[in-house]
Subunit: 430 residues, 2 copies
């Protein structure tokens, strides 16, 4: 048997502790599967004395995580500190420079610096592995990069943030408003005190940028992701969605066409007949459309100690077995720079809700605004008419360019009888 | 760049042609992804003159597929002939003996001879790859063997036969009887003239035995799979299932417990809240329960030229990259021989439908039969009472051992007023 593979872990939060536990509990089977022993040799975290419920006694403790990069007894640095820049990035760069493999769960860092890191590690002949960065325990990076490697992938999309999906699912199931569910999530520890990273779609956008790169072999371009979160999703829109045969999900969608690369994260209405509409609670799902494999769906827990540790260890096993695979589908030097498609040029169907007080001529004004921008209505729904009080009017629009929809909505908002900002949710007939 | 990897393809049916097409269409991207060129050097099929819609002119034609095993210009033999024994097996054995890697879609051969083939190829230092044998384009073998490799997997199950799922979905959606849908499938070419391989569950059982081996690291034991097909699923049972909140699916389920390994293929009632109940048409799905990753679902097309070629080429790329991984999760010599759990010892919940003419005392007799076998009823459903005419009575039973259920049903069948053989479908609360 080959000599053991020695790993050093930076960061002993939930995922770090889960990773240590997995190595401790499954050591024998990891050895069988990898053909060599997997040993933790060193660990580093901010607080040595914190109670973590695991025995760290046999590992070298390093107060400074950066020392892992030069620790002779470490082959693989497992970076679980987090943050796009700062010590996490510094550690990864130093580890690569010292010829050590890197395994990381750090989606923010990859979204911002993935292309540079891929260049560095490929030049140094080491692995840069990040299964844990996207969709927790779902082996989606491996599926895209290896399992579907022969395909031209035209689109990859999914439910990429468990907190958002949990909130939206609870709103739909229990008929509660966003603020109410968010507050509960915060009390239960499912959402951060400052939840904006999750609910404003940034976390999902990090993951989407990574998925796009590994699916299409394109350079990471996080800045080109159009990002909208779920703060403005109301119970009323959920109820209308239900009536129209849709569910509201926060999706990340990346697609390539002759126009370039479109990357967007926003609430979507998806038909209840679509598999992704049934992914509920804190689960994640990722769907890839390949030209030969067709549509492949992956679903599972997107976060948590166990699932994320499972992904970290899968990467470690790959390294132990000597897997040589480009970081993002093709070698870093061959990654394409794809032209970003602006959101204004997005083509799709739309749900629009107006709140209006019924006045003579208002529908003519709305129709004229739509016509001005060459937008055509597919259906309209108005339940109650209560003169003097604002009532919701819901329209669905035929597939059209977003620019036109926004133009029409701006015109509609200026109509006297329209008393709130129109709400728009994109319809994805997945 | 390394020298090209040369493949020889045996069998030019749908999948063989799809594989050739994928190499021809995506040659450049395969090279980038693999770090070397992938070249088809030789092909073999029964009929050289058949019109296949692809240009085979640049490949060496071999009339005898077995010659691929000794062809100097072939590194990898892609076996797409099929059949558990005969030429397919002979070719794989000869290829391995000659130091060539093998890629195959042949589930029957692996189910029957997988352990021996794994021993042979590991001894010879070549790969034996079979992603295409289970669930078409879904990269489930890779997920189980690599992506989830750190987990102890306790259960793997799924919808493993597209023809059965298509028939059951059509019955449920269109309210048609089994025979009617099957006939249509045969006319459309979705089902074979002799459909027993699919609809009697044998194909699903082959795949289940393979999944069990790669999930649990156990020796293949196809003979221990309990197999029932879908011939006896009636529209009436589907309608009752619907009423009770279930859908009927043909599932393959393999699980490990302290008693050993349970492998079974049979129609199941699954709750409509379960993701797998929404997998419809000819799609496949595979679900794995890992101790760290939790429940991971994969879904996609389980057959067809494109999806199966996608899986074949993924295996070829792995070989091109020099992937070294045990054939079934752990090296062949370390595969466990697990004790099979007899179906009579299976514990689960049950749906039972009796057809009975209402006579005084019949319910007392039924209750007494259940009591004799310590089986307890959870619910009972009897819609109409039409004296003299047989009416359905549906019961669901609490979790119990199958032996008891079968004993009770034998006793119940002997009751005068029970006019047909009782129908039993296992309930899986997935």
């Amino acid at each position: 048997m080959k000599r053991p593979l020695k790993i050093g872990i930076a960061g002993l939060g939930t995922v770090g502790v889960g990773t240590v536990r997995m190595v401790q509990e499954h050591g024998a089977s990891l050895s069988l599967s990898a053909g060599r022993d997997i040993k933790i040799s060193a660990v580093s975290a901010r607080d040595k004395k914190a109670e973590r419920g695991i025995d760290l006694g046999s590992y070298k403790w390093l107060d400074n995580a950066l020392d892992l990069a030069t620790e002779p007894d470490v082959d693989v640095v497992v970076e679980l500190i987090g943050g796009a820049d700062g010590i996490a990035k510094e550690l990864c760069q130093a580890a690569i420079a010292n010829g050590k493999h890197v395994v990381t769960a750090n989606k923010a860092m990859i979204a911002h610096h993935g292309t540079a890191l891929a260049h560095a590690c490929e030049a140094a002949g080491v692995s840069f592995a990040y299964e844990a960065a996207v969709a927790g325990g779902i082996p989606i990076i491996k599926s895209l990069r290896e399992g579907l490697a022969g395909n031209r992938i035209s689109r990859v999309y999914g439910i990429l943030n468990g907190t958002c999906n949990y909130i939206l699912s609870a709103m739909a199931t229990d008929g509660r408003e966003f603020d109410d569910v968010l507050k509960e999530c915060q009390q239960l520890g499912y959402a951060e005190a400052d939840p904006s990273f999750d609910i404003d779609g940034i976390d999902a956008a990090h993951k989407l940028a990574i998925l796009a790169s590994v699916a299409f072999g394109s350079e990471l371009n996080f800045d080109a992701v159009h990002i909208e979160g779920i703060r403005h999703v109301s119970l009323m829109d959920m109820q209308f969605a239900d009536e129209l045969g849709y569910r509201i999900k926060l999706l990340g969608i990346a697609s390539v066409s002759e126009n370039g690369l479109e990357q967007r994260v926003h609430p979507c209405m998806v038909p209840t007949t679509s598999p992704i509409s049934h992914v509920s609670g804190s689960l994640n799902a990722v769907v890839a459309d390949g030209d030969f494999a067709e549509t492949i769906v992956h679903e599972g827990p997107g976060a948590g100690a166990g699932p994320t540790a499972s992904a970290v260890i899968a990467d470690v096993l790959d390294i132990a077995r000597g897997l040589k695979v480009p970081t993002f589908r093709v070698p870093a030097k061959d990654l394409q720079q794809m032209t970003p498609v602006a959101m204004s040029k997005h083509r799709g169907a739309y749900y629009v809700r107006l709140m209006l007080v019924d006045k003579p001529g208002v529908f003519a004004d709305i129709a004229s605004a739509l016509k001005d921008h060459e937008v055509s209505m597919e259906s309209v729904l108005q339940r109650t008419r209560d003169p003097g009080e604002a009532v919701p009017v819901v329209m669905t629009l035929h597939e059209t360019e977003e620019e036109g929809v926004l133009g029409a909505l701006a015109e509609i908002e200026a109509i006297d009888a329209v008393v709130e900002q129109p709400r728009m949710i994109r319809i994805e007939n997945l």
